[in-house]
Chain length 245, copies 6
């Protein structure tokens, strides 16, 4: 099958990662995959969410997702009327869960880490690229805390237990494809977002056939593709040099 | 593993289905699974959503989900302040997609079918039971349309191509369990909602490890359990006698 | 005058009362009068409203009213956009005042009792049936408090001083009618909701002539009808056996 | 019983009525009763509410009620956060129904008349004084329509069939009182708002015993007092000279 | 140039000031300039805004601005849907800043002074007349505090350092005009609002050419006109006798 | 006076301008001045605002302004709760007016041009830099319309009549300074935003002394500084090569 951008069926789009793109937050990453570009900033605060007991010693990680009006054509209306739409809310909950799955909230201590994923340009896969970029911004923010400086994911005292990344896969005319761009995503019968750790464990699988279905064989093929893509993304994450303050 | 209600690991909770529970909508089903009880009503209208072209001839199916304040303890605040929360929005989008996956919207014709799933009592699995009940309410609503009276899912002229049902599965202390009640759901490391058709195809898989992960072997075990449960649920759906007006 | 459902002018619709319909709240009553069906659940909490002084020792009783979308045809839009409409707000304030009129808030102690009245099916008289049902759910909730178990309305130590029930009356083509169904209510020139106690005292009278008026003779006739109906309703309330936990 | 302002039990507070207080609307009345002052402006428009059929030939009358922040002490927060509170909504619905009860909407023709009642100073009885003042502003607005100029309430071609006015009555320590000021209203056991026409017919009776009840004898006494007060108010309304443009 | 109301180019509209127009707030001023009429009420409270440290000893002054629906023709919709529009918000921020510019917040002490400017009738210049009236209401409110009774603006212990007033100026067909009425404002190419103190210092200059521009010479002419007008307004403010309680 | 970043009193911060930073909108400019960075995207649409008559032939230009949460420290809460705050609303109205002042809306034709200014990093002067950047994005968007391709501001057939740019000036310890960074802006007694055209005409002057005032001499000094800065900014705008599609 000929893909619109001539990629192989199991090929990721070209990824660029620019750390410290802005300087007001301890983590700030501009990440792009083909025509999708997301600015991920990670902020730290001592103010825990109201439902947490500050005496408890645990921290919390949350995420917000937003598409800038100019990130799509036609222009996307801002979500300012008090109704964060269902899709936005679903995505930011997914990003938050994905990040928390690889963090030991007790080791984090009574801190609130918020990652903002603002999509500057959208061409498919914005939620998965947000997770992949948010992971790096989160790592930089953790390194900005003196007691965690220089530690790496998986080290005993470090709250980050493992890397995490995400990718979309889908079935287009029965062919399983990795990392769908917008036009592929639009045409796909089945769309699946997979979030995995550096050690190859699943964090989330969200497979959905809008007006379609899929069988077990197809499921297995899609998961294999996702695994390959996520392995490559985590290598890129780990290769990006740590921010030195 | 001893389950809290003495069920086997692969055993559904007892299901009751009461059709025509109320009489203002063409479909109305009170469904319960153990301590979870949902009222599903299906309404028909000629008014399509604004983004659809009424000339186009296609119809649409949507769903709303809501928990009554008295369905849980402590009492759940009503979502009346203009902010439908993320969980609610996510669930009603899932129910809508699941129903649409088994309907031919062209055969449905320019009609709007809305299924309301109001949880009267909540004890885990409210979203999956909503899908299972909504399917029956939708079937009754379709039968109330004269041209579709008496047809069955899969018949050529009938918009409903297949049955659809859903169930939750999860990993609790590494043991895969079918149809989690609230206490099990709360304690589970991994929680997965599976939506399948009568012919055994996946419609949705949503597996999530909040602060946990799962590997491929566990994934396969969970999907097998879900399949067994959904097969039994679809038998119950098909056994419920059609509403005779 | 021939009524649409062949009732006498001073005849109530058939009433059914099902206690403990759900099990998450100390009071839960499914009440129906003809085609109107309301689920009343009564919850208890230690959290008083912010304007009350918890040191004061008094409790509070409040009510919320809601019509499920499928309770009417055409389907009723959910009140989720942050604007509880005037009618809803007026009704739930009326229910709350009616319940508080028969409760000694000091004897209740620093407790918050919330009664939720969710209309499952609407055929006129939803606000008055809500009051009649809410009274029973409130009684059960009070009985769930150990120090009040087994006491009856009017007993010295019991916060409930008397029973309370409500009914609608109206003038249809100059004829006074008891307990209007939707079609009668729609056609009536004058509509009056009356709330009374077991000892025959008025709690609320809300008589309104939308684009019409009424004179004193008619007022007296309407109040007599209401009295008769409420007497019968309170007998039914008192006959419903207490919930035994 | 000695009233706080030395009035007799059946005595109204002094009333002042200033027509054409502002000049942007066809009706504009500043009315005060003791320490309560309300600005009632009546606007006309050709734009009917969306639920009305403009072909139908009928008009509509609606009202809005609002208390200015400086009308009470402590200052009242503006209702700007999208939640018109229950009390406000209840009052403006009452004002609208009261006005419509004396208007023939067909004779009015396809016109929208909106009366705004803005309370500049509040000392009890704001809702009843709003009705009494709104009536005069409405009359002036009707007179501004050339075909109705110079006609009086009750004349055949005039949409206004009769005068309408309102007053509050209440039981304070078992004594029935007319036209309660704020301190009396606050202390009263039973509070009743009565709306009547010039010909002595009831339009609305809203009697309520917050944490109290009342019997039939008391009801009769309260209604007699209200009648007396409303008769005097309607004389004042009729005496106010018509606006001459 | 012939002005619509025959004023000279540098002539203010006739001003009337009525103090103690209402009696629930320590300051209450009804001010009018030609056809524009604003009710300014000043309330005092001990409750500082949440972002202030009450230990700090400083106070705060804020303002709210609102146009009553009947103040314009056609009727202005109330801002009740949770969205205070941009113009309203801009104006009330301007009024607040203007008042704070002449107050020593430390001398004021830990008090919150809120000035509400409700426009009863609008004919241009509502924001500047609000500032001029709010100043007088604020002065009365300050005098109601025992320790400040009888002091005058500029006296050492008095928080009010100077008078403040505002006026609009504009370019209409290249002619600079003082105190624009609505029709002039609508037609003007350049519109400028100027806020000045009694000692002739600028507090705010907001000059704007909607679809137009202006050069330095014109700027100087406009500022001269504004100065003249404000001098006259401040004389009127100072002449209004102090409220004697 | 020693400025925090060693600039001269009349020196702008270093400016960088990156056109076509994103590719979904006809205009897209990433502009930075010192530590302030704004992404300006200009979108075109055929959908005019509802209050415009599409038959009229005129177009419209509007702007939205937003600060990303990570653009400041501490993190800025998103404006998602339905309440666009006063400052935001004021700024986006200013940007819109400034752009419209240099456009001939009739020559533009029935088109809607929306410029979104999203602040990625904030260090003072975000509103003025937004105007300066929005001008360039608007120019590129106009060039993307075939009939205007290659034309320059001021050419007869081109809707853009002139360049427009903006800068902030202020009084810090009585010294007039050009282009204030955040720390200077925070400490300044008087803050003034000036918007001017390429031909040196004023579009907007907004001078404000929060808890301070300024005299005419200071006003003249501030305007001189602003003029110098804007002249330099407009040279930079004109030097940025046009986007070639």
């Amino acid at each position: 099958m000929q893909r619109i951008d001539n990629r192989l069926e199991d090929e990721l789009r070209p990824i660029t990662i620019q750390k410290q793109f802005t300087d007001k937050t301890p983590g700030s990453v501009l990440i792009s995959a083909g025509g999708t570009m997301v600015l991920c900033t990670a902020s730290l605060s001592d103010k825990l969410p109201p439902w947490m007991d500050p005496e408890d010693g645990r921290g919390w990680i949350t995420a917000e997702y937003n598409m800038l009006p100019g990130s799509t054509s036609p222009r996307k209306k801002r979500e300012r009327d008090g109704k964060v739409d269902g899709r936005t809310s679903e995505i930011q909950r997914l990003i938050g869960r994905s990040l928390r799955a690889v963090v030991d909230l007790e080791r984090l201590g009574p801190r609130m880490l918020t990652v903002d994923c603002d999509v500057l340009q959208a061409d498919g896969g914005t939620r998965t690229l947000s997770i992949t970029g948010a992971m790096i911004a989160m790592l930089d923010a953790l390194h900005s805390i003196p007691e965690f400086a220089g530690l790496t994911p998986g080290e005993e005292r470090f709250p980050l237990k493992d890397y995490v990344a995400a990718v979309s896969v889908g079935l287009l005319e029965k062919t399983p494809l990795l990392d769908l761009c917008y036009q592929e995503d639009f045409a796909a019968d089945v769309d699946m977002n997979v979030v995995m750790t550096g050690s190859g464990k699943f964090v989330e699988i969200q497979g959905t056939g809008e007006e379609a279905t899929f069988d077990e064989t197809e499921l297995v093929q899609l998961l294999q593709l996702a695994k390959k893509g996520i392995r490559e993304l985590i290598e890129l994450q780990a290769d990006t040099p740590h921010k030195v303050s």
